[in-house]
Amino acid sequence: MSELTIKQSGPAIFLGRLGRSTLRGCEQLGDATMLGFHALSLIFSKPWQGKHFVLQLYALGVGSLAIIVITGAFTGMVLALQGYYTLAKFGSESLLGAGVGMSIIRELGPVLGAFMIIGRAGSSITAEIGIMRVTEQTDALEMMAVNPKQRILLPRIVAVILAVPLLVAIFDVVGIGTGYIVGVELLGVNPGAYMAELVAKISMHDMYGGWVKSVVFGFLIGIICTYMGYRAVPTTEGVAQATTQAVVISSVCVLIIDYILTSFFL
């Protein structure tokens, strides 16, 4: 029996590869969604994981506090400097408070906060779960009749969903505060004008938009980082690769979803 050989051209090879990676991406998306929702569906199943939610919230939330405060502080300071420089050209320095507040609450707080949490907490979630896979700790849990999806994945996903909005709120407060210090104390903007414009121009709608973004980002980070760790190839290299991918994919997803949500909340 003769074999049929088809010689593929360059574009055909490219399309083939593109198709395969698209299919693999869709497969992973479906798998991550299923795994995440399966873990979340166990939230009310016995045994109740309350203690582990608190432990993870402490580890991920409090552990990320310093980096959030530092990032928030310098973001507010830079925004005040840049904003003052721009507004001074139009003689509108009094609008500095509104500019800094709106930029931070609507956009920079959720996005930069999410990036910092991905780098600090998301990567550690992926690496920790990946190492548990490599060292068969998740199998050991299975054999001790403890569901690793409920014990390992669920508390981390819930902790990130709760931690991101809280940390973003802290980011916002610190950013606006340092913006005030730079704008009022260093650059001489009228303190009354700064605060009055801040309160007058920022509506509940802006606050709500920032809050929704931070909850959605928390959900994304939790699902992606736990998934990448749980499905990591159980080797040292596999865990390293999964950690890098978790950070890259989470960051890109945050940017894409940010655009989509911003277009809804404008």
Partner: protein, 269 residues
């Protein structure tokens, strides 16, 4: 008690286990032996429900492990234990909490009772007084002994042992083998031991299954295995490099590789 029918496992195109029937005797020690890559650990993980088979059934009594719900599987596992090859202790917990873990999870016992039970298990493995140490502070042999104590913490009916003596010094290895034998006999525990430690396997097992290339090539009592006329069995027991089981896994000519003949792999400088 445990019966596998036409059990097979494929990883991609590679058959780690060809369709195999296995019968594990209740209350006895079954040793699954064979060389590296013969499918021992795959068979153990399938029997423990840690892997889904590519085909076949695993019967626990009249329940098929391949079709039961997750909830039922976890119920069954409350009466199982497993000692992993690299111990698999939970890194975030100390020795006491590792051994007490299944007791905390599945019983409402008072902490004082759990403490006593943990002490008894640790005494059995010779590590009482080491409760405060973290897994990173233990040697390989100590970690394995703690993992043994954890595996039997709930006095399970079935215990899976994956290479229980590998990486241990002769004394620890002998202690673990004796512990498996004694615990299984006293508690009427069904033990399934994967090992390539021939003396340990022959000394503790009531029944031996010998695997090669994902197939069972011999099974029976230690005496039946010792007196098997199968050349492969004798080669494995004696550890001879020459015989029907080739030592080298290479499929290309060594001479061709060295002389860089076409079709062979050449290392780039």
């Amino acid at each position: 008690m445990i019966r596998a029918e036409r059990l097979s496992k494929l990883f991609g195109d590679v058959a780690a286990l060809s369709p195999t029937d296995v019968h594990i005797r209740s209350g006895k020690i079954t040793a699954i032996m064979g060389g590296s890559g013969s499918g021992k650990t795959t068979l153990l993980r399938l029997l423990a429900g840690l892997e889904k088979p590519s085909s076949g059934h695993i019967w626990y009594g009249n329940e098929d492990l391949c079709t039961i719900s997750d909830k039922r599987l976890y119920q069954l596992r409350e009466s199982m234990g497993m000692l992993f090859q690299y111990s698999a202790l939970l890194n975030s917990l100390n020795v006491y909490d590792n051994v007490a873990f299944p007791l905390h999870e599945h019983t409402d016992l008072d902490e004082a009772v759990i403490r006593t039970m943990v002490s008894m298990k640790l005494e059995q493995v010779g590590l009482r007084g080491f409760e405060h140490l973290m897994p990173s502070e233990l040697s390989g042999g100590m970690a394995k002994r703690v993992a043994f104590a954890r595996a039997i913490a709930m006095d399970p009916k079935i215990v899976f042992f994956d290479e229980p003596t590998s990486g241990l010094d002769p004394i620890s290895s002998g202690v673990i083998s004796t512990l498996i034998k004694d615990t299984s006999t006293k508690n009427r525990m069904t033990s399934i031991v994967v090992t390539h430690d021939v003396p340990a396997g022959l000394s503790i097992a009531d029944h031996i299954i010998l695997l090669w290339q994902g197939r069972i090539i011999a099974e029976g009592s230690p005496d039946e295995i010792r007196h098997s006329t199968d050349e492969r069995v004798q080669q494995f027991l004696e550890g001879r490099p020459d015989g029907p089981i080739p030592f080298s896994r290479s499929t290309t000519s060594y001479i061709d590789d060295l002389t860089h003949k076409p079709g062979t792999v050449r290392l780039e400088s």
